[in-house]
Each structure stands twice: as structure tokens, then as C-alpha cells.
């Protein structure tokens, strides 16, 4: 009888350990910790901060796939060069804008409430950023071997991937589907960010 009890206890305990440390949650948790301790609260110059953020951000987010999604129907029509130029401009610009967003961080904690299966090898990690009015953030991950990449961040129901896609479609629609014009616009905007930062 004792043995059975012990066995049941062991099983229950292993379940609770499993629930507490899901690899997908750990991935987001570690990433957030890494960015907070090594970038946001690190004692370095703003330039070094941006570089550190760029390294962490481009490593964690699958910007190539997101970029492809963002161009949508225009991706297939674009030339190889245009695709490359777009991905570069998109990566550079999103890195800067997200670095700026993360800079608004002021010590809020992030609580994870669970993981849902999205598709085949994709997961939604549900989280809440504690603030006066808590903010609901869902991280969409794609598993790659035993590692993960972020493919979308959904804040209060607003998907970043869908937002970029809708916005860039509007830009492309206005200039007859010319990807180069969009790339130019992104470069211009990205440079404006540098000027503003330098002030």
C-alpha cells in the first residue's frame, strides 16, 4: 500500500514539475530575463545597448519568415533582389522600433499562464504583463529542433505580423505593388530613428 502511495505521489509530482517548466514557456521566460538583465538594465552606452538588443532580437525572432508573411501576396511576385533588400530593411527597422519599445520597460513583471498548440510545430504562450491595467501578451513560437523562434507577438489581440502585413499592403497598394518603394520608405524611416536618437 505504501508503495502505491509513493508511486502515485511520484506521478503527481512529475506532472506538476512538467506543468511548471514547459520548454516553450522557458524559452520566452529566459528571453525576457536575458533582455531585461543584459540589455535594458545593463550599464552600457545607448549604441552598445542597441547592438546587444539587435543580437538577442534577431536571434529570437524568425524575421525571415515573418518578413515573408508580411509581404503576403507581393512576396511571390517580388524579384530575389527585392526580397533580400526588403528583409534587410525590415530587420533593421523592426529591431530599432522594438528596441525603443522595450526601452519603455519600467520593472513590470511577466506572468505566464499556459501554452496552447497552434499548428504542427507551433505554440502560443499566454502571458500577462503586470501593470496598473495588465496587458495580455501572446507569444507565437515555432519549434526548430529543440529550440524555438518567435514568429508573432500578439498584444491585446493585436498581432504584430498581421499589423505589418496590413500596413505594408496599404503602402504597396498606393504605389502599384512596387517593393523597392516600400524598401526606400523603410530605410528613410529607419534613418529618421537614428537622427531622433542622436538628439
Amino acid at each position: 500500500m505504501k508503495k502505491i502511495c509513493a508511486l502515485i505521489c511520484a506521478v503527481i509530482m512529475s506532472f506538476s514539475v512538467m506543468a511548471a517548466s514547459n520548454p516553450a514557456i522557458d524559452f520566452v521566460d529566459n528571453l525576457a530575463d536575458d533582455i531585461i538583465t543584459n540589455v535594458l538594465t545593463a550599464d552600457v552606452t545607448p549604441e552598445q545597448k542597441l547592438e546587444k538588443f539587435r543580437a538577442a532580437f534577431t536571434q529570437a525572432v524568425d524575421l525571415k519568415s515573418v518578413g515573408q508573411f508580411v509581404l503576403g501576396v507581393y512576396w511571390r511576385k517580388a524579384s530575389e533582389e527585392d526580397k533580400q533588400a526588403f528583409l534587410e530593411a525590415f530587420t533593421d527597422f523592426t529591431t530599432k522600433t522594438w528596441a525603443d519599445r522595450f526601452n519603455m520597460y519600467s520593472g513590470q513583471s511577466i506572468l505566464f499562464s499556459g501554452v496552447r498548440n497552434a499548428e504542427r510545430n507551433q505554440f502560443y504562450v499566454d502571458s500577462q504583463i503586470e501593470d496598473k491595467e495588465p496587458v495580455e501578451v501572446v507569444w507565437r513560437l515555432r519549434q526548430k529542433g529543440d529550440s524555438y523562434k518567435i514568429i508573432d507577438i500578439i498584444i491585446e489581440g493585436v498581432s504584430m505580423a498581421m499589423s505589418y502585413r496590413n500596413e505594408y499592403s496599404a503602402v504597396l497598394q498606393q504605389n502599384g505593388g512596387n517593393v523597392q518603394a516600400l524598401v526606400e520608405e523603410l530605410r528613410k524611416k529607419s534613418a529618421a530613428f537614428d537622427v531622433q536618437k542622436a538628439k
Binding site: S65, V138, G157, V158, Q174, K189
Partner: protein, 262 residues
């Protein structure tokens, strides 16, 4: 409500002046056109330009001064006060939506903050970790009569992104607000302006970042508004195959050539 009449007259005169967007002939562009559901885009963009000019010339400088001068504690109380005033309308809408539990929470929160929080100046309920559900008339409409995307997108003067359902909802909520009947109009407008100023000041930095990070700020706000509205109104798109409600944010990545998938 003379205010609403003026807004309507303004909208109508704008749409006459600017006209409607024409449906594109290209199938891809036509699909996008129906997806964003913004037939009044030319008028909306004109109003948006006006809003942005007002924001830069008046609202932002005033908000910066306000943020500099008014201490954070006072600002919190201002925010709490106006948030508390909205609770009766949330309460009514929660009941109309059949959300009895939320209605109870809202009533409890309102009572607590009004009595022990000195007329709503202190948000004791939040400090006690009581949730703060919000229910507006737009949601009530969405729940019973008007599911889907809320009709054509609207850019309201000063008030910003909206759609037809939400604009109607806002009007009804404003009429239902007890302060509308009790207080002198001048005081009501002053209170309204202070409430909007406080709300704007809180999100000012984020909005600035959003504008800087957009290639088309108008389109960015439009899609964000639509997605957030789908979440708030519980009208996330239905999947064609299963007929099962999916979260609105479920971006369809099925077209992507994943690098590791060859």
C-alpha cells in the same frame, strides 16, 4: 445632443467633398479592399490629417506641460475619478450582455471606490486585486444584433479610430452616463477634456513610437483598431471549415517556406 449633430454634419460634408474610395479592379487589391472595409478612406484620411495636426500643434504640447506640472499622484487620482464615473454605464452594459458576474464585480468596485476611495479618487478595488471588466454598448450591439467587423471603418474627428458600430455605441454610452444629465454642460465638457488629456498623456510615448515605426501610420492604426475590436467584441473571425471561432490574431502562416522544411 447638439454635439452629435455637429459631428454628423461634419462627417457628411467631408464625405461629399472627398468622395468614396473606388473598388480596385485587380483581384488581389480588391480582396484587400474588402478586408479592410474602409470605403470612406479618402474622407477618413482627411480627418486623420486634421487629427494629427491638432495632436502635434495642441494636444502633445499641452500633454507634455501637463505631465511636467501635475504630480503623478494627482494624475492617478484624475484617472481613477473618471474611470470610476464610467462604471455605471459598464454595469448597465454588463447586464444587457447577460454578464451577471461581471456586473457584480463592477457594482462592487464602484461601491468600494466611491465610498472608501473618496468619490473615486483612489482605486482601492484594483489595489485589492479586484478585476476591472469593461462593457460598452458597442459590445452589447456586437453580442446580440451586430456580429462581424462593426461596419465601415471611421476616423472620428479628435476621437480617433472607430467603426460604425462603435460610434453608435459611444453615442449611446455618452447619453447613458449619469454625469451627462446631472452636471452643467460647461463642466461636463471640461471634465471630458481632462479625461481625454489624462488618457492621451498615458499613451503619448507609445503613440509616438508607433508613428515613427510606421510606413503608413493611418493603415497601422486601422489594422490595430480592427484586431483589438475583434478581441473586445468577441467577434473573432470564424474559420470556414470547422465553423469554430478562432482568435482574430491567428495569422495564417501556411504559405511560408520555412527554411528548415525542405
Amino acid at each position: 445632443m447638439a454635439k452629435i449633430k455637429y459631428v454628423l454634419a461634419f462627417l457628411i460634408s467631408c464625405s461629399v467633398l472627398v468622395g468614396c474610395a473606388s473598388v480596385p479592379t485587380d483581384p488581389v487589391e480588391a480582396e484587400l479592399y474588402h478586408q479592410v472595409n474602409d470605403p470612406l478612406e479618402p474622407m477618413n484620411r482627411t480627418i486623420f490629417a486634421f487629427n494629427q495636426a491638432t495632436e502635434k500643434a495642441i494636444l502633445r504640447p499641452v500633454a507634455k506641460g501637463y505631465r511636467f506640472v501635475v504630480p503623478q499622484l494627482v494624475r492617478n487620482s484624475i484617472g481613477n475619478f473618471f474611470s470610476n464615473l464610467k462604471q455605471p454605464v459598464y454595469f448597465l452594459n454588463a447586464l444587457l450582455q447577460g454578464e451577471v458576474k461581471d456586473a457584480g464585480i463592477i457594482l462592487g468596485r464602484f461601491t468600494l471606490n466611491t465610498i472608501w476611495g473618496v468619490g473615486g479618487l483612489f482605486d482601492i478595488a484594483t489595489e485589492a486585486h479586484i478585476a476591472s471588466p469593461t462593457h460598452d454598448f458597442g459590445q452589447t450591439l456586437a453580442k446580440w444584433f451586430w456580429s462581424g467587423d462593426g461596419g465601415p471603418y471611421l476616423m472620428l474627428p479628435i476621437l480617433g479610430p472607430s467603426d460604425v458600430r462603435d460610434a453608435v455605441g459611444r453615442g449611446v454610452d455618452a447619453l447613458a452616463e449619469p454625469a451627462t444629465w446631472v452636471v452643467e454642460p460647461e463642466i461636463w465638457y471640461a471634465g471630458w477634456a481632462l479625461d481625454k488629456l489624462e488618457t492621451y498623456t498615458r499613451s503619448m510615448d507609445l503613440l509616438e513610437n508607433l508613428e515613427k515605426s510606421s510606413a503608413d501610420y493611418y493603415a497601422t492604426l486601422r489594422t490595430m483598431y480592427r484586431q483589438n475590436s475583434a478581441k473586445r467584441n468577441g467577434t473573432a473571425k470564424e474559420t470556414a471549415s470547422a465553423g469554430q471561432a478562432k482568435p482574430a490574431y491567428e495569422a495564417d502562416f501556411s504559405d511560408i517556406d520555412w527554411e528548415d522544411d525542405e
